[in-house]
């Protein structure tokens, strides 16, 4: 579930529901195209609703870009598990992955739009978060 364009910030979508994560990724692809590295993950390790650190780490790897990765999450556990995953990354990557405080679907589309224009990670995060501002 990815297309690699080094240079643009990667987007990772994390939802408790794999269907929501995949659907949000579909929206990003349709609205923004494939100019940004994109990956999604959802569900616990047994395939039920939830999130899991291994899945998030894999999604970060898939969407990896030298410009960094912005993660969009839905509810509490998705955020906590994403922060855990970021801490488990190799040290040189850790500072280049940010979890955004934004609604998962709208945030993903806006973050990807910002990224597709070549904006840096901080700007991508800011744009997504303006939804809550």
């Amino acid at each position: 579930m990815s297309s690699l364009r080094p240079g643009n910030v990667g987007i990772v979508i994390v939802s408790h529901s794999p269907k929501i994560a995949e659907g949000a990724a579909d929206m990003v692809r349709q609205m923004v195209g494939d100019a940004v590295p994109l990956a999604w993950t959802g569900g616990d390790v047994d395939g039920g609703l939830g999130t899991n650190v291994a899945g998030i780490l894999e999604a970060i790897e898939t969407a990896w870009s030298p410009a960094g990765v912005a993660i969009l999450v839905d509810l509490g556990g998705a955020e906590t598990n994403s922060e855990m995953a970021v801490e488990m990354l190799p040290e040189d990557r850790r500072a280049r992955v940010l979890v955004c405080n934004a609604p998962v679907v709208e945030g993903a589309v806006i973050a990807a739009t910002e990224s597709s224009g070549g904006s840096p990670l901080a700007a991508v995060k800011r744009s997504a978060e303006e939804f809550y501002a």
């Binding site: 616990d44 939830g50 899991n52 556990g77 906590t80 922060e83 855990m84």
Partner: protein, 204 residues
């Protein structure tokens, strides 16, 4: 305190058993104010921990605790995975192989600080910290195993009238009042199991 291999395995089995046996209770507590998956998630995590026995108990106490924490982080699935997992991982990092009581007090304090940071939370917000923090206070002030275990049970009970500020239950606002926090209950079960095993070691 020195735990040999047999004692370490007994500790792991007691911790896992306490959560697995109460999975239905944890789930029903979570159905009242959360998303109803706490029992299932914790059971999955501790079954995964059990699956790493007997090799797990071959590790030193600090390494064993770190491994338990990592398994919980990877397998639990909800927010409790990183929270409870972080507690075990940090405890393992901070404890020497043969900890004194003072080592245990210092290490649990570090582990609690790490849980606070992970959850960006403090005691008083209807989370597992409402058990960890008061239990640590009893331990730090010299309380014996019985006092520690009793405080764990009472502290979980005291979350019932609290209003949730962090976690899924906070969405309910005042409606979270009147139900025990499931994360506090599982923390209390784990502490009870740990105390029981360690007392057994001290007394035999």
């Amino acid at each position: 305190m020195s735990l040999d291999r047999v004692a370490r395995e007994r500790l792991v089995r007691a911790l896992a058993g306490s959560v697995i046996e109460h999975a239905d209770e944890l789930t029903s507590l979570d159905q009242a104010i959360g998303d109803g998956d706490h029992g299932l998630n914790m059971k999955r995590g501790f079954e995964a921990v059990l699956a790493t026995l007997p090799g797990l108990a071959d590790k030193s106490l600090p390494e064993m605790l770190k491994a338990i924490g990592m398994t919980l982080v990877m397998k639990v699935g909800g927010a409790s995975g990183p929270l409870v997992g972080t507690f075990f991982m940090e405890l393992g990092k901070a404890l020497p192989e043969q900890p004194s009581r003072a080592d245990l007090v210092a290490a649990t304090e570090k582990a609690i600080e790490a849980v606070k940071a992970r959850g960006r939370s403090e005691a008083g917000q209807k989370t597992l910290l409402d058990v960890l923090v008061p239990v640590h206070a009893v331990l730090a002030s010299g309380g014996d195993g019985k006092a520690v275990a009793a405080e764990a049970v009472q502290a979980a009970d005291r979350t019932t009238p609290m209003q949730a500020i962090r976690g899924r239950a906070s969405f309910l606002g005042e409606r979270s009042i009147g139900h025990m926090d499931p994360g506090s209950r599982s923390a209390s079960l784990l502490i009870g199991a740990a105390v029981e095993t360690l007392e057994f070691e001290v007394n035999t």
